[in-house]
């Protein structure tokens, strides 16, 4: 709701909100003052009521007049005084209130007093049948009660205040009491009788009376002194009290002293009765002076109350005027400040409207040093910088449009590059996969090579140990060969011997064979004559043949044996040589095998390192593949981003055009 109000309205609401408590405070102040005034008014009423009651009491006190005219005049005065009493309205005190129907306090309304007066034996009209007559003394007591009721707190007729407390004590309690006592004293018919002698108890009673009266007088004098003292210290000083009251008090006191002296004289047993005639005179004078003092005191009190009321009314007016003046001043200040705020604000608003329509040419100088002035300076600076900015923006929008076009072209180029990159990465992935597979294959091959090498080492080791055994065997064979060679040599010698014998035998058999053959041939040529020869020749031939065959076999055996032995010897020699060669060769082989084994042992860790290298290569290839896959993903994302970038560039170009259109609306 506050948003709908202008600043002017808000300031007004602010002022009103501060005015409201002032008004409320003023209202309560004024109503309080008004209540006090009203109360003072009531008190003045109470004082007037008190005056009327005092008047009544004075008339009643001097009732037994000297003459009939005096009596009638006094009765009329009493009635008038009663009317005057009844005329006064005390709030809270019913006019018809009697002493009995109140809640325990002693109070009497004016109408009750009237009724009571009509029942006295002094009113001139006889009381109605069944009603007891009211004595003079009882009526005075009733008046005293009514006077006391004035100061009763229940009726708020008189409220003891700083300035009136002692006067109230004087007028309401002490002096009426004294007057009532005096009245009772003077009304005593025995004392008024100048002839009779006083009885002892009557004399004692007089002494008591005299003491009471003296004490009452002293009380009255003390009250008057207190009243004067209070007046001297009060803020509101009655101008008359210091002149009227002391004189009245002094007169009353002197008269009272005289009366007291008289009473003390009368109380003496041997006092002459004629002195009692003077009692009435002095008593009346004391009573008159007392009433004069009472009247003076009531007047002063009324005056004090009047002065109080005047002061209160003046205070009321002062409060009202002060409030109004303060309000007027604040309203003026508020209007001034509002005008001071709204005028430059309107100027600022007009300038802002001008700027809003795009007119940046105007300048604004408020010549102020407050926040609005700062705002005006800031707005001026803002307008200037806005003007330069708009100028730059106009230039930049053109540049931006061209840049957007270039961006679109560049992004398209980049898009094609990214798609190329996607293809390249796919090829790289394929290649890396092949590399990975190849390296894994190589690693497996290396493992196989390594196993084969280990086998080779084992085999070479076994071969070397076999060679060592073989070498030992060869050495033993060499020794055995030596033995064989020796045996063969022996056999060879024996064969030679046998051969010689056989040669001889063979030659014999050969010759025999030849002879028998030729004999057979001769016999055949001879025919029948040679038959016997032929038989012999054939037998010889057969024998020769058998011998030849036998020798031939032996010879052949010997020859073969010799050849065998010779061959054996040479073979043994060759074998021995070969064995030696073999031993050397096996030693050489053993050495070479040892070298091979050591080389193989050196190779093994290299295989391990090569294998580890292959594994690292495989791992690296895998990592490359993963990285390329990530690259591919990145390329894809880049392509997406580029697409978005393309759209953004198109938006940007559109925006640049829009911006240009908008910016052209400004006048710089």
């Amino acid at each position: 709701m506050l948003n709908r109000l202008t600043i002017l309205q808000k300031l007004l609401v602010l002022s009103a909100s501060f005015t409201l408590p002032i008004l409320v405070s003023a209202y309560f102040t004024l109503t309080g003052i008004q209540a006090e005034i009203k109360f003072t008014e009531t008190e003045r009423t109470g004082a007037r009521y008190l005056g009327a009651l005092g008047d009544l009491m004075r008339h009643v006190a001097h009732y037994p007049g000297k003459s009939k005219e005096d009596w009638q005049r006094r009765t009329a005065a009493i009635w008038e005084a009663l009317e005057g009493v009844a005329h006064q309205k005390i709030p809270g005190l019913s006019p018809d209130q009697t002493a009995t129907d109140s809640g325990g306090g002693s109070s009497l309304g004016p109408n009750s007093l009237k009724a009571l007066w009509s029942r006295t034996d002094l009113a001139g009209t006889p009381p109605a049948s069944g009603e007891t007559a009211v004595t003079h003394h009882e009526f005075i007591a009733a008046i005293e009660t009514a006077i006391a009721a004035v100061a009763d707190a229940r009726y708020l007729a008189l409220d003891p205040d700083l300035d009136t407390t002692s006067l109230i004590d004087l007028t309401v309690f002490d002096l009426p009491h004294l007057q009532a006592q005096l009245s009772a004293l003077l009304a005593n018919p025995r004392l008024r009788d100048p002839h009779g002698r006083l009885r002892f108890e009557e004399q004692a009673q007089l002494t008591a009376w005299s003491a009471l009266i003296r004490e009452g007088g002293a009380q009255v004098a003390k009250d008057a002194a207190r009243a004067l003292q209070a007046n001297a210290h009060s803020s509101r000083v009655s101008p008359t009290i210091s002149t009227t009251l002391p004189g009245a008090v002094q007169t009353f006191t002197i008269e009272l002293e005289v009366l007291v002296l008289l009473l003390s004289e009368l109380a003496k047993p041997d006092s002459p009765p004629k002195d009692r005639a003077a009692l009435g005179l002095f008593g009346t004078r004391v009573s008159e002076e007392g009433f004069a003092l009472w009247s003076t005191a009531v007047t002063e009190m009324e005056q004090l109350l009047s002065m109080r009321q005047d002061a209160q009314e003046r205070r009321r007016w002062e409060a009202a005027l002060a409030t109004l003046a303060a309000l007027a001043v604040s309203a003026g200040l508020v209007l001034l400040i509002i005008r001071d705020i709204t005028r430059p604000l309107n100027l600022l608003m007009a300038a802002a409207r001008r700027i809003a329509t795009g007119d940046l040419t105007g300048s604004l100088d408020l010549a102020r040093r407050d926040e609005i002035g700062t705002l005006g300076v800031t707005v001026s600076a803002m307008t200037k910088s806005l003007a330069s900015l708009v100028g730059k923006v106009q230039g930049a929008s053109v540049q931006m449009a061209s840049t957007a076009t270039e961006l679109a072209a560049a992004s398209r180029q980049q898009e094609s590059l990214v798609s190329d990159l996607g293809g390249s990465t796919a090829r790289v992935v394929t290649a890396v996969s092949q590399i990975s597979a190849t390296s894994q294959e190589l690693a497996r091959a290396m493992n196989r090579v390594k196993e084969a090498t280990a086998d080779s080492e084992r085999i070479a080791d076994a071969g070397r140990s076999g060679l060592v055994e073989m070498e030992g065997t060869m050495h033993r064979l060499l020794e055995a060969t030596g033995a064989v060679s020796a045996s063969l040599a022996a056999i060879h010698d024996q064969a030679n011997t046998v051969s010689a014998v056989i040669t001889t035998m063979t030659k014999v058999a050969d010759q025999t064979n030849l002879l028998s053959l030729n004999a057979s041939i001769e016999a055949e040529r001879l025919g029948e004559q040679g038959r016997g020869v032929a038989v012999v020749a054939r037998e010889v031939l057969r024998l020769a043949d058998q011998t030849a065959v036998a020798t031939l076999d032996i010879e052949r055996m010997v020859v073969e044996m010799r050849a065998t032995v010779s061959a054996g010897v040479s073979e043994v020699k060759a074998f021995t040589g070969e064995m030696r060669q073999g031993v050397q060769t096996s030693t050489e082989i053993n050495r070479q095998l040892s070298q091979i084994i050591s080389l193989i042992k050196e190779l093994a860790p290299q295989f391990d390192s090569v294998n580890a290298g292959f594994q690292a290569q495989t791992l690296g290839a895998r990592q490359i593949r993963d990285a390329v896959a990530e690259l591919n993903e990145g390329a894809r994302q880049a392509a997406d981003s580029l697409k978005q970038f393309n759209e953004a560039a198109a938006h940007m170009r559109q925006a640049a055009q829009n911006l240009r259109t908008e910016v052209d609306g400004f006048r710089v």
């Binding site: 053959l517 057979s520 041939i521 055949e524 054939r538 031939l541 043949d545 065959v549």
Partner: protein, 153 residues
């Protein structure tokens, strides 16, 4: 018919004993220039020069080895101007004879029954004996060349 057995290489041959003049040992031979290849030399038999043909070269492929059983079979060749000329045939294992029928061109299994040296036959395991005819041994040109040399010698 009595056949003189001899061996060329692995083959046994038989020669009619009636065509044989004498079997002589393998004496040292004198070689002459201009003789055919199969002629290994000449030797003097009963006062005349006899050319010797190596049947190993003529019928086989290798020359005959020098053994005790390797002998020269002297066969009568022809009459030339009243001189009986002979031819020496060098062969191996000329140690045995065997009986055979005339019409048997190729001796069969029965030849071994009469074999003079069954051990030799058993040793060689040659069941078949080829009959050699002396007449077909030399062509006229070879004969002339051979004996021309002999004659001149």
């Amino acid at each position: 018919m009595l056949l003189l057995l001899f061996r060329i290489g692995e083959t046994w041959y038989g020669l009619d004993a009636r065509q044989v003049r004498q079997v002589v040992p393998h004496v040292p031979l004198t070689t002459c220039p201009g003789m055919p290849v199969s002629a290994v030399g000449t030797f003097t038999y009963q006062g005349s020069l006899v050319p010797v043909l190596d049947l190993g070269l003529l019928l086989g492929t290798t020359p005959c080895a020098r053994r005790l059983s390797t002998r020269i079979i002297v066969v009568p060749w022809r009459e030339d101007r009243g001189i009986r000329q002979s031819l020496g045939l060098l062969a191996e294992s000329v140690t045995g004879m065997t009986q055979a029928r005339e019409d048997e061109t190729t001796p069969g299994q029965s030849c071994f029954a009469d074999s003079a040296s069954p051990d030799v036959l058993a040793a060689h395991h040659r069941p078949m004996v080829r009959r050699l005819r002396v007449e077909g041994l030399l062509t006229p040109e070879a004969e002339q060349q051979l004996f021309a040399q002999v004659g001149r010698g």
